[in-house]
Symmetry: D3
Subunit: 236 residues, 6 copies
């Protein structure tokens, strides 16, 4: 759950593509949150890293999902006030696509509180207003209807499902142009170390491809290629 500045900085230089490969080698096949794409300009062309702060929605029920419910102690408002600076909010909207979980006001408050990013398997609303808040948002798109039309907020910091993946509060989220990936907290250090090495190797392979080296033997690297790579790394 504690994310050191070193690990954050290291993960900011690793693609989510590499992270899923490393997690797969460690036995975790389901780590990629299916559905959300970079939505606001703030989310495009950059990578964000932070511990997950989870939110859970279920479908709306007219006797429960009322404008009045927005003032209840178990509301999205209360959840946002509880978010620590630097977290990435991950909202389980059960994939519901006909209402937006948040609009400009709630996103503005999240940005004000220093939330790093918002990731959801649902939609947002008032896309122009949300973009204006500067909050980096990964979602499936934008629609006009309010959450209360289709969604009922249940609670925060529970284990959730989001985009086909289980997210436990405090897991580390990394989000970039390919989407968002969950790193189980217990695997954080091992995954980071392996991912940094993998990125370095793949950068070297890209150089080799640029020189016209054919793929067989290069990628994946055979013994000779590995020797050449290690020699190059020693040279620096």
């Amino acid at each position: 759950m504690t994310l050191s500045p070193e690990i954050r900085a290291a993960l900011e230089c690793v693609t989510t593509a590499t992270l899923t490969t490393v997690l797969l080698k460690k036995g975790v096949r389901t780590a990629y949150i299916s559905g959300p794409v970079p939505f606001t300009d703030a989310a495009k062309g950059r990578r964000f890293v932070g511990p997950a702060f989870t939110l859970r929605f279920v479908p709306a029920r007219e006797d429960l999902s009322t404008p009045e419910s927005w003032s209840s102690p178990r509301s999205t408002r209360a959840a946002i006030e509880a978010m620590p600076e630097g977290c990435i909010a991950v909202a389980d909207a059960m994939g519901i696509a006909d209402a937006g979980i948040f609009g400009d006001i709630l996103c503005a408050r999240m940005a004000k509180k220093g939330v790093t990013a918002l990731v959801t398997d649902g939609m947002l609303r008032d896309g122009a207003g949300v973009a204006g808040t500067g909050l980096p948002v990964w979602c499936k798109g934008t629609v006009a209807p309010a959450s209360v039309a289709s969604l009922n907020f249940v609670g925060w910091e529970e284990t959730i499902g989001c985009g086909g993946v289980c997210v436990v509060p405090g897991d580390i989220i990394v989000a970039d142009g390919d989407g968002a990936v969950v790193i189980p907290a217990a695997l954080l250090e091992a995954v980071t170390t392996a991912a940094v090495e993998q990125e370095q190797l793949e950068a070297w392979i890209m150089q080799e491809v640029g020189r016209g080296v054919p793929l067989p033997g290069l990628y994946p690297a055979n013994a000779e290629t590995k020797a050449r790579y290690e020699a190059d790394m020693k040279k620096g």
Copy 2:
């Protein structure tokens, strides 16, 4: 949550079709659990009523969804042991269709404990074995893979989403050939009273249709038809 024998008996004579109409008139549009159909022979041709006991699953994650997790205190096994006699278990499987939440052994234990029925927006497995337990089951079908392949059990007696509907522990579930409906606990008496009246009226209308009366004026009933209905009811 307490379901009197009178209300249970009354609801056993009311179709879920009538219940959704009555709930709609009371402002609750989302009460029907979309997806589950009567699956075992025990579920076909009958109607079951009971308070909801909720179960929540999220997608599997290999570091969490292990055969070992089946022995943990937060397991489906522990949840089943906590089920009171007469309840209807409602399992939120997030609609995941590629693994069965339960097989014959867990269903046999539920039947043994006097659980009234099981309703889920997911699948079961070992359909023949489950049918043999005599437990009335509403689900989307049957597949071979175990829950651990795709699902991670999170907890019980939480507010859940199931088949597009919010279910709060203690809501009353009614399930018949058309599927399953949730009656919010606070509306139980009012809904039951109105539904029993509606059924009586519709039975009379069916008799009229059988006599060859055309629909306009009959259904919905205009003033004259209502008078005729009331006269007939007084006759008994």
Copy 3:
């Protein structure tokens, strides 16, 4: 639109599988209504033929889809009263699956009026009650909510889309265990003649398969097979 007793009788002996093949050869690829399956016992194991009487629904809108709208002159009730004996009602529900277009009362009235069958790309409600009316019904299944929850009836005897197919009032509908097929009225005679011949040929081929004849040359029939077939037909 006029369906002679001879053509009706001929089509009652032709599978919808054969009809789609014949229509394909005549250039009509989209004739099969995708979605509806035989639902009531009255629809199973038999074949029904009749001219299409069309119904059109659109999604519900709360200011339009009210219980009051059921009494309006443009209601499903009025449409049912306008159905001629022997027609097959085809209802365009836009594939909406979360409400039933009709329940037991409306189906009972249709049965009383001598409607041959009901085909829809939507759902029915009160499945047990509908089955009890004896009306042969092809639909996608049964749910509890009333049409007013999700559907707004617009009119009848318009050109509609149903299950991915265009249906013009007066087209001929044939429905059996494989589903329902639309024969454009202008092609009725040509299709019937070709289909009867095709059925006769396929029945003979089935006999040949029963005798152990391998498929190549038999199906499709080469010149020698055709000669053998024609010889057999002459023998009678």
Copy 4:
């Protein structure tokens, strides 16, 4: 149906997000057309308002959907010639995604006639050509095949379903970055008044969030916040 310049100007300053909230409070839950997004550059970053001119398509049938049908009096060409200046064309394509309803020529003619915008739950074709016409278009995307491959045009100015919503000719359409919303004609004035007020309040709340005010009590506004808001409004 008559849209005064004042109401048009007022609605051009109201987000579709706000409109759906106001409609929900007035009992209309289904007002958002699901699916279409701003497609041409002319549709992006602006908001358009106009009365609905409806078009209805059904699936193609080879004997009806021919290039020849394009010259018939009941063709898309005739419909386009009937469109009044300032209308928003709303096309019910039954959500069919494998053919485009219009290409560059038909869109160019619509632009020439002063049609305000085109909204459809289907696709367009020749996206580059369509963009070049300057017509603001909301649709689900662009594909190459012509409408005749999958769609059969039926008529115009009928009540339609589009993106899960019922649209009556003359309803008012508002389309912006979040998509398109239908305002029932009878509710136009009441909705506009309430929406303008709501926008003013939300703009003030955004300022408060910008000042660092936490959400509870602010949004939704409690009595004290409302008093503060009204005081600020009086100041002007």
Copy 5:
């Protein structure tokens, strides 16, 4: 690929539910063919085992998928003649649901040749005729249109995808009420041995549940339960 009578007999007593669990423990998570259910009466209530004989379809193209193509050497007819007795035909229809891959004539020939069963992620046609052939069929349902309308047969005994699973010719297929499972040929003996043991254990656990033993400690079995089980097994 060679399936001994002993292994066939053993697997006929093991549920596909148990097989997927055993395969999962051996690292094969994707072994269940998603979609096909027992369709013909011959397929219901029994279990079939056989080596896979694969068929591959791609979408139709009008210049390739002609009635004439049925006589080509690379036709479904030729494939059927090549099927050995005792095989299970597995057809990759790419999940296409708007045409049937086979009708009564081709299924009759397969039955005549002693094919054990047919499994496909597509549809069949002429359901009544197919049922009459006595061939056990697992498929997604039945529609009227011929394969030529939507499917183009490509070849046989290739590696295919079927229902989300890779099937290599000669893998062993087991199909029962829960659907069909693929056992990679190389794992056949190990899987069979483990599955038989697992079935025996689960049968004993079911007896224990019948005696009223609670689930924790029983399933999965803890050390004490295992000891009790082994003692009971020794007694015989």
Copy 6:
């Protein structure tokens, strides 16, 4: 399969929209690859033409889809090395959306070898890296997981299904902003000739629309319009 520079140049000036119309007139209705859109900047705003080089994937199976399989002779690496300069690679990913078929390294090698473009009904991964290679890519989007997580490569230069269309090696692919179209090799010249004529006519019609000519009689062109068109063409 041989694509002359003249035909390539001609097709580079014809929209895929026009090509599908011409193919439809020649009896080929299924020619448009459903799903892939221009993904990399190199694919946007331009049109590419080339003979199809096909790739086939099936779902992953853990005993087959291993990192080790990447070095096998039947690997994507070997397929890429076999691609001739100027081809368009078309990959059948069975529409699987939860893993990317290729990332930056494989795309960089394809660009280096002079492959014209990549078209797939699946996803790519490492979108930023892929964009950096300059390879024009049509796909459904980008995700993080590697192909090995969900896909098993089977072979190349086989007949495949891609996006609902059959592609034979050597068919001609044309891809632009509307997506990608397959021209059967045998129809190449006839389609090109007709398409160039169609484009010329439509360009003239667009001019007429620009002059304010109404649609009826213009598009489709009646006899008078055709005469006017031909006169204008003669003028040059």
